[in-house]
């Protein structure tokens, strides 16, 4: 291929009259895809306390605590500051207790606010 003078120029000049492709993010948002892995959501009613998710979680972000001695009731503490959003808990759970939502703006100023309790 031979060298030409300013081969890029036609495309550049065309772009001058096109709408920019930049998404003005905080003002307009693109929708997240259907299978997006956002925050972990836990359904305490379905949990059987098998603790597979605790063992499989690569980030050690899940704690399952038994609420009462007599009943099979559990609560989950999610350390969202450690969570890496891999959704392994969704795959590992035998009773489909977990799902992922589409939220991605989860940054906060205080890290402690990311500790979430599901009862």
């Amino acid at each position: 291929m031979s060298l030409r003078i300013a081969p890029f120029l036609p495309e550049l000049l065309r772009s001058l009259f096109k709408k920019p492709v930049t998404v003005r993010y905080p003002f307009e948002k693109t929708p997240v895809p259907a299978g997006f892995r956002g925050n972990v959501v836990f359904d305490p009613a379905k949990c059987i306390g098998c603790n597979i998710c605790v063992g499989d979680c690569p980030a050690e972000a899940i704690e399952i605590i038994r609420v009462s001695e007599t009943e099979k009731k559990f609560k989950m503490i999610l350390h969202n500051d450690r969570c890496i959003h891999c959704a392994q808990c969704v795959d590992s759970c035998p009773t489909k207790t977990y799902r992922m939502d589409g939220e991605f703006e989860i940054a906060v100023l205080n890290r402690r606010q990311l500790k979430i309790e599901y009862k």
Binding site: M1, L3, P7, F8, V21, P33, A34, A87
Partner: protein, 400 residues
Amino acid sequence: MEFKVQLGPQHPALHEPISIRMTLDGEVIRDADLRLGYNHRGVEKLAESRSFIQNLYLTERICGICSFSHQTCYTQGVEKLMELVPARRGLYIRTLVCELERVHSHLLWLGVAGQEAGFESFFMYTWRDREVVMDILDWISGNRVHYSMNTFGGVRRDIDEMQRKKILDTLDLLKQRTDYYLNLAASEPTFVGRLAGVGKLSRQQAIDLCAVGPTLRASGVPMDVRKDDPYAVYDEIPFEVSTADSCDVLGRAVVRVKELIQSYRIIEFLLKNLPEGPFKVKAPRKVKPNEVYSRYEAPRGENVHYIKSNGSDKPERLKVRAPTLANYPATIAMLKNGFIADIPLIFAAIDPCICCAERLVQLDDGRGRGRVLRFSELRAMANERAKKIDYTKREIAWPF
């Protein structure tokens, strides 16, 4: 007169920390040395205390750009240890994501090459079109960077008919744009002038220094793990290994663009021949004592994982060798007798991924100190240290 200079670990041309120490003679580099170790995370040691499933996500996080490469390399190694035959549809989808990742990585590289050469418009355009691939990966896997698609025995998500059609449609746009960039990069005089003849690495040098990937292939050695040691379903797919004979940065760019075109062919083949059936099979949790040497052709070259199991659910040893580490000796050879102006290009031409290459031991990560340093304290520490250094004005050669 010669003088010694240190580039990095913080430098605008280096997107990640690495230090190049050079002996300069005016603008010419006489000698170069690399200092590594600014980005240690202790992945290999950590992997020994994690279960196989947890390591799936640990290996993925060795690198951001080639996350799927490391994960796939690890996954297929563990599958061999488990003596597990993955589902065929799963393997097709896995290969599809591999190739999509290659496309996104090579488009990214084209942009980086443009940026390092000061060709900002080229950078903006290639990255704009890279978003198309990122969107495809987004549809398939849910997220843009860490796809988390692999699991032992197949993949975690199926792709449906609509996604298949959508990918095939967008592929045409990508093909067209890649052709345009190939023409553009090969005909813009200032860009070609910067790339041609820079960073020479002869065929023999490339082989001796164990270079991998496009760096090796641009020196005329047709080594590609996909052909030499086929994994996943590459033995069923028709494609060609791209090489170039010019042994310089331009050759490496050409190899990458040719690979892009091959990748489009592969993606098209995969989508048209996608077999029916399950996309994953059930995997055992424990692994028999054995060892495996898993190879994978990442966008940057041959990626290697050596995994040894001891019968428990944790690996005995996981050794990771990322392509960038293998290319460092070749980089030093390329830097010698080059110009300062060529450093960013030569360095970018191996497509360095420093966080990939360094993954070993962590000493203190700030968190381990038990206290958090304030900015003022850091500054006081730096001043304290600076006072101890004897600054005598360097003797500098007048270059004329």
